[in-house]
Amino acid sequence: MRAWLRQHRQALAAAIGKLTAQRAAAALNALVIGIALSLPAGGYALLSSLRVVTQGAALEPQLSVFLQVEAKRPEADALAVKLKNEARVREFRFIPREQALKELQSAEGLSEVVAALGRNPLPDAFVVRPRATDPGALEALARELRALPAVANVQVDSAWARRLGALAGTARLAIALLAALLAFGLVAITFNTIRLQILTQRAEIEISKLIGATDAFIRRPFFYLGALQGLAGGLVALAILWGSLLALNLGVAELAASYGSGFRLAFLDPGDALAVALFSAALGWLGAYLSVSKYLLEIEPR
């Protein structure tokens, strides 16, 4: 066990030695891998930031039931009773016109407009969450509610949020596909780097085999080399992402401030950042494994 650990330590040291001896080439490889990986990682970070925004939006279908402006509170209470007894309604919430006005006044740039109105133009309203979510059932319930006395209008909400959700899903899929494609690219880069390294060390491999080195012993430094190269690429990707978000946030902060929001594009959380680095190292190892499996067998002592 001690000998096995020593051999791993030596293989790791040999791999680090190779990387430092060819630091310019190693840095370029890490840069190429880093740029490739920063694209899906950046997309993921962007979606994660947007998810925070969209989480506030209702993705489940809901109906907004607006009463007539002149409707009195007893009429609203009667409708509340009706909704409570309606089996197709899962829950509902009453929004008095005074509360609606307050919310409108608190919205950026509307307080002066509301003040200029002189009176509250908003009606009482109910936000209804139905049990069924299919469009047919929703429309039927909306139609029945519209026919009730004191109801001015019924609006089926959340369609836009669902569209946004679907768009985010498509974007996630696109990022996953991009990540998969670029992962192949990373494996190919490592495969080729290790192939060249094997060719460079052909004499050493041949001699090592002649004097009794096992295939595992010969392969080990190449695996470490591939994994280290992948890891370096992953760290470069994280650095690129961090720098890019820092620059983008200058503009985003200004834009968000104009909407009264403190929204910022967030960097990956520590777990995700670690996953990017480890995933990159694993892909580097895979590229090395494939390369070594193909080319090491071809080198035999003569």
Partner: protein
Amino acid sequence: MISFSGVAKRYPGGHEALKGVTFSIEQGEFAFVAGHSGAGKSTLLKLIPAIERPSGGAVLVNGQNVGALKRAALPYLRRNLGLVFQDQKLLYDRNVFDNVMLPLAFGELATREAARRARAALEKVGLLAREKANPVQLSGGEQQRLAIARAVVNRPSVLIADEPTANLDAASAAGILEIFAAFNQVGVTVLVATHDETLIGRFARRVLRLAGGSLVP
């Protein structure tokens, strides 16, 4: 120890390098494999560590049929054999000491013990003072001695050398053979291929003479 029984070797393309070669070498024996260039000396030696596989017959090393060994078993066979080549097969990107350390890197020895053993091997071939030198700084004879140090550092029971003196002057060649003789005296089986009849005559050991791929008297 080493036994060839009706061994034949035919290379792709049809060239028959060995034909029905039969002999055996006992433990602790010192023997030359003699013959002109192309007689099959190198092929014969390459069959022992399974660098080449026989086309017919059997090659036994310590009772093990090396021709039938699986790929994964070859490193363990080769660790018990010390191999010396005409072109030394040294690594020129590391110093003398590290070249000798190479076979110990995949063994079980701790680093300190391995270093001690490498220096002992270098001392035996008279290169301890040059341990930090790069092999390119060594003369041909010194490079061959370095190759011998690397071959013996694992304390093999058999030492096999293919034309180890081919590129050396007479004095250096005799020096190399003296080193082999010294190892043989402590029980190591030695098999040396050479076409140098003067050297063979000088050391007066058993000679396996090859001509056209066959053993001749």
